[in-house]
């Protein structure tokens, strides 16, 4: 069984902060299909559309019937552990710093043999027994895909049965951004969503949650409740104000491990229903420029600490919207600001990747808050959104689409973005 992670001792300030070396991240274009699925928490392999043979490693032609029609298809991942090894040597700096490192060779029930990072709770394969009848049964396990520190998909061999502290496995923690014992900034604690996120993070074991509040004089319901939590520290943070962001970065920049940027301005309507650009400008100022300011000020500090001990800096979470993918005309200017933020978040992800910081983009459908009051259900409850964010952190997921609306829209968007555009123009 995995031993629970103990709270790391305070950092020795005399020692140099360890710098990040990424695991090998080169992958072929075809193999990136596995990364695309793992980014959303799925384990997918190519399946031949002609003969149904499952392929691995990723291929451009079926190894059985030569068909080029290989479709990435979600897998259960059940299999048998054929062999294991523990590396005591590696030529790669990332692994060299993390030895010993356990690997497994697994025969998937669907066919291929796959090399996996092997979780510590998976037992070793049965030893040799001259008497076959006395031989222990084979070790069953299940294989899943995760993004590693370089953001590339890797396969992991998990124990068949979950155990209480299995998330604390040393290898698995390298693949995830678990909030446990981490110091987290939530950029806006005034909203229901912000409060739900803070509560969920505390429950997930966060050590400190810095909660931003832009307008200290505004008393909003629920705010006192999170303020009372021992882990919570209120910090002044106004994302429209560069100086405010810089001051906070100066104060906590060297300590923060995870940033959750949930601050947003959301107003209804598109172009014709309102005169002028003030509202659209306010939306952009928080939703787009706010992200830019925060990333410029806190991003570098996060990157510098991405290999800093067991609770190194790990992730950056952006609260976007499913409207970022395709404009929802009744909330047209808000959609545009979220589309801009999405584009910037992709840039942030590219810039954070060399440091091994995961950028998680969250695309909820309409949230059940006052700004979506007029929309019919289903809507995403703030608590459900918060738990989707914590799940993304603990499972190493990169793109999250919480709620039924988001799930359906992303499916329609993938099928045909033009068709979705026409449908949304016609009312949804």
């Amino acid at each position: 069984m995995t031993m629970p992670l103990m709270k790391p001792r305070r950092k020795n300030p005399v020692l140099r902060t360890r710098q990040m070396n990424l695991p090998p991240f080169a992958r072929g274009r075809t193999a990136l299909g596995m990364t695309a699925a793992a980014a959303e928490g799925r384990f997918a392999l190519q399946v031949c559309q002609r003969c149904k043979a499952v392929q691995y490693p990723p291929r451009d032609a079926c190894h059985v019937c030569l068909s080029p029609e290989l479709k990435w298809t979600p897998q259960q991942g059940a299999g048998e552990l054929l062999s294991e090894t523990v590396l005591h040597h590696s030529n790669d700096p990332f692994y060299r710093e993390r030895l010993p490192w356990r690997l497994g060779l697994v025969r998937l029930d669907v066919g291929p043999s796959v090399i996996v990072h092997l979780h510590g709770d998976v037992p070793s394969p049965p030893p040799f027994a001259a008497d076959q009848a006395k031989r222990r049964p084979a070790v069953r396990l299940h294989v899943g895909a995760r993004l590693d520190r370089a953001g590339a998909a890797v396969l992991i061999g998990f124990p068949e049965k979950e155990s209480e502290h299995m998330a604390d496995d040393k290898m698995l923690r390298e693949m995830t951004s678990d909030p446990k014992f981490r110091k987290i900034l939530v950029s806006d604690g005034k909203t229901e969503v912000g409060q739900a996120i803070v509560t969920a993070l505390v429950k997930a074991g966060a050590e400190i949650v810095w909660v931003g509040h832009a307008e200290p004089w505004k008393k909003l319901p629920g705010f006192d409740d999170i303020t009372k939590l021992a882990q919570v520290t209120l910090v002044p943070l106004d994302l429209t104000n560069g100086r405010s962001v810089a001051e906070l970065a100066g104060e906590i920049g060297g300590k923060v491990d995870i940033v959750i940027n949930n601050a947003e301005v959301h107003r209804a309507y598109g172009i014709a229903a309102r005169r002028g650009t003030d509202v659209a400008r306010a939306e952009m100022d928080i939703n787009y420029f706010g992200l830019l300011r925060l990333a410029q000020e806190i991003g570098p500090a996060l990157k510098a600490r991405s290999a800093d001990g067991a609770t190194h800096a790990a992730a950056w979470v952006n609260l976007l919207s499913i409207y970022a993918l395709s404009n929802y005309p009744p909330h047209g200017t808000f959609s545009a600001s979220k589309a801009a933020a999405h584009s910037l978040a992709q840039c942030l992800r590219a810039e954070m990747r060399p440091a091994g910081i995961r950028v998680i983009n969250v695309f909820p459908g309409p949230i059940d808050d006052e700004w979506n009051q007029n929309l019919p259900p289903p809507k995403v409850a703030p608590a459900a959104l918060a738990s989707a964010i914590v799940k993304a952190l603990t499972q190493g997921i990169e793109d999250v689409y919480p709620g039924d609306v988001a799930q359906e829209w992303v499916e329609r968007w993938r099928e045909n973005p033009k068709v979705l555009e026409r449908e949304l123009a016609a009312g949804g």
Partner: protein, 396 residues
């Protein structure tokens, strides 16, 4: 395999001669072309054949990229009428010999130089691992970057669990090869290895320990292939090709490699040579890891599958033992000079069968027949290429 497939035609009349070794170095600043050039120079010098009369060339090298064999022709001022590029690592020697043999039989070439050489800079090995194959890049190198160590750790562990082999069984192979290497001036390892030292070595990737691994180095190996009459005319000591096989991606459905492609074709190998395994006087197996040597003993018919451990316990594997294996010390003790590791067994076998002065101290007494096998290219979870050749002493 369909009934219509024709049997291999004979290799009769094909001679291999003039084994040369460009002395190994652990690290060298020289590039691949330098090592290939040295090998060609030695071939010309030792054979007395002018460079212009060598009209066929095969080149095996990883570190030659982006060049291939054709770039070598201009670099060395050659104008062959037959050319092949065979960068298949541990299988490159057998594959080069087979292709060259057919070329001289068909008259496409008169004298073929088969050359394998690789550079080794301080950074070479690490760089090669990450870029070795598309499958390695996508599906093995990202997992700990242990290179072939992790793959052969899986294979060795699976073999031990399946057949009851113990580390000491593999140790017998390594210790015997080291004893042979001490009689080879070109071997990188110069001190004896005891079974205790083997067992106490530091772990690399369980159950692989230090002395299960080869030492990457720079170096070259080469030989000439021609018709036997030509060798006689030139007065060159030579050996004859009695049979040869090759197979790629055999047993692809086996979940883990516990048998190699030699099994598929071995009956044909021995029937070409007209002998049974017990007629073989020595073997030069491919030894990137000792488990692979054991697989070859089984899959080439010297013992049954799973009997490898008992076999190595019962036999003496040194050059003066009852089952001489890797009389040069093999890659485990001489060093692995990239693709030249796939040629090492061939140059050694030719020397043994021609009583070359180089092997005087490690000669296999009265040897008439030697078997050389190759194994190459771990693109993902196993080696894909297998090959073997039986060489015979030419009657004088």
């Amino acid at each position: 395999m369909t009934a219509a497939a024709r049997a291999r035609s004979s290799y009769e009349g094909v001679a291999v001669a003039c084994p040369v070794t460009v002395p190994y170095r652990r690290y060298s600043t020289h590039g691949a072309h330098w090592w290939i050039g040295r090998a060609m120079d030695l071939l010309v010098e030792r054979s007395g054949i002018a460079k212009e009369q060598i009209d066929g060339l095969t080149v095996s090298s990883f570190s030659l990229v982006p060049d291939t064999a054709v770039g070598v022709t201009q670099h060395l001022g050659l104008s062959p009428r037959w050319l092949d590029h065979i960068p298949t690592g541990g299988a490159s020697g057998v594959m080069a010999l087979r292709r060259a043999a057919r070329a001289v039989q068909a008259g496409d070439a008169d004298v073929v130089a088969c050359i394998a050489a690789d550079a080794n800079h301080v950074e070479s090995f690490r760089q090669m691992l990450g870029g070795f194959s598309h499958f390695a890049r996508d599906a093995s190198y990202p997992y700990g970057s242990g290179g072939p160590n992790s793959i052969f750790a899986f294979i060795t562990a699976a073999y031990m669990r399946t057949y009851g082999a113990e580390r000491a069984d593999f140790g017998r192979i390594c210790v015997a090869q080291r004893a042979n290497a001490l009689k080879n001036a070109n071997a990188l390892f110069k001190v004896p290895l005891s079974i205790e030292q083997y067992l106490d070595a530091r772990p690399i990737a369980d159950p692989i320990h230090l002395f299960d691994c080869v030492m990457p180095c720079a170096g070259g190996e080469a030989f000439l292939v021609m018709r036997q009459e030509r060798a006689k005319d030139l007065g060159l000591p030579h050996a004859l090709v009695r049979g040869a096989i090759e197979r790629h991606n055999a047993y692809a459905d086996d979940p883990v490699l516990l048998r190699g492609g030699w099994r598929v074709d071995r009956d044909d190998l021995y029937s070409q040579a007209g002998v049974a395994p017990d007629a073989i006087d020595f073997v030069q197996t491919y030894d990137d890891y000792p488990v692979v040597v054991m697989l070859q003993f089984e899959d080439l018919g010297f013992c049954e599958k799973g009997e490898g451990p008992a076999f190595v316990r019962a036999r003496t594997l040194t050059h003066d033992g009852d089952f001489p294996n890797n009389t040069s010390g093999g890659q485990l003790s001489a060093g692995q000079a990239g693709c030249a590791g796939g040629f090492l067994g061939l140059t050694e076998a030719i020397r043994q069968l021609t009583d070359d002065a180089d092997v005087a101290k490690r000669a296999v007494a009265d040897s008439m027949l030697g078997l050389v096998s190759g194994f190459g290219m771990v693109t993902y979870d196993r080696c894909l290429c297998t090959g073997a050749v039986i060489l015979a002493r030419a009657s004088s």
